[in-house]
Subunit: 137 residues, 4 copies
Amino acid sequence: MEPMKTPIAMDRTFDALYGLEILEYGEERVVARVAVRDEIKQPMGLVHGGVYASIAEATTSMATASAVYADGKAAMGLSNNTSFLRPVTSGEYVHATATRRHKGRTTWVWDVDITDDEGRLCATTRMTIAVRDLPQS
Amino acid sequence: MEPMKTPIAMDRTFDALYGLEILEYGEERVVARVAVRDEIKQPMGLVHGGVYASIAEATTSMATASAVYADGKAAMGLSNNTSFLRPVTSGEYVHATATRRHKGRTTWVWDVDITDDEGRLCATTRMTIAVRDLPQS
Amino acid sequence: MEPMKTPIAMDRTFDALYGLEILEYGEERVVARVAVRDEIKQPMGLVHGGVYASIAEATTSMATASAVYADGKAAMGLSNNTSFLRPVTSGEYVHATATRRHKGRTTWVWDVDITDDEGRLCATTRMTIAVRDLPQS
Amino acid sequence: MEPMKTPIAMDRTFDALYGLEILEYGEERVVARVAVRDEIKQPMGLVHGGVYASIAEATTSMATASAVYADGKAAMGLSNNTSFLRPVTSGEYVHATATRRHKGRTTWVWDVDITDDEGRLCATTRMTIAVRDLPQS
């Protein structure tokens, strides 16, 4: 089987723009991080809530897509529910751990926890990913 | 009263990074857009779900913060629930309209609809914003 | 085509237990209500949040199921995101209006607003319903 | 301090109506169950999604309320996000375990997992509970 090719080079995507680094990658668990700097913050100096949502979206949809590709399936985010628990204003990285909670035939569900450098829980996302047949080419 | 100052210059924030343009701004309604280009997409060529979540987060938290600032209050995102309905792969802009649904003493709730150039609904976000006393300085 | 039969008589279901009354029924809009009384409240005297979630679940999944049944499809709730805006402690009814926001091939999305007798918004639900092939018999 | 009194007797509430049984109760973890029978099902014979949402709502808001009462605070559900993973049609009980994820000054966040008699995950809820000052009497 052909390896999965992506229409957009990885270093030109949105994930490259905000600086997503994948540290561990698998179909049940993904670990990633993003360096804290002004350009991932909102005007008041807090890491932007959209960054947490983006990390959750990226890690879980890529991991699901990779896993189901061999079965001729595609994966796409269906919903992203992110709760903000504690603001991050400084530190070196925001850290993300995505854990799969459910592997269904048509949907996968993941929890993604975002922590700061001290390991405190700062945001948490429930991601639902749709698994569908790949369009026949 | 002093105008609200932001610790980070607006052109150095995350919203500047992905290219948020505010077209209309008020405490009940915000209209914004983002130009479609590779760097807001995920590897498969779709606009990244995190971009929709970011637009919703930015428009509603800024509008709430501006409105409650005169009362000595701050605003901060509490939860961002984004549903993805139709992928955007091309076109000039993704368009966002944020509409306030609830103005409570401690929380505001907004709906944000994301449409494509043809006006089709592509994503929709329910944002809950916490309103809290500003830290005394 | 055979009309849809339900394995459980409507007057023995959970919706009958808490007293769901359907006032208007269609594939784009459903209007319903539930009489306010102690047995739909939580111990502090507020209408129980689970009642709002139940009304949203019932109205939207039944309306979707009826609409897709003719195409040999079944409908099932995928997620129910309910926000609580204003407690209801008295009054005659809680009133619900479900409005379809998205009709996709595999998912429908509805918004359900719950109001009190004065028309004030008390809760709002985003329901995502999965549409799947009926099991072949 | 006076023990917390409830305006409605526990055996006349909604939780009594659908049959909530609390098995373990604490400020970080609550275990509960509900007996499976027709009157907690929807017409197609599945346990009603509103029942899962109700269990999550009840366990977490009661546990939060009990814990913050000594500090002169009240607790109230802010949002209930329930995902449905696997239908329950038979068995003796649906089982719920609520686990606290975040204890903030103004919000607590809980995860509630619903399993069947075989321990399979059937639904999962993220509950956000607001903690507020009790009205002065």
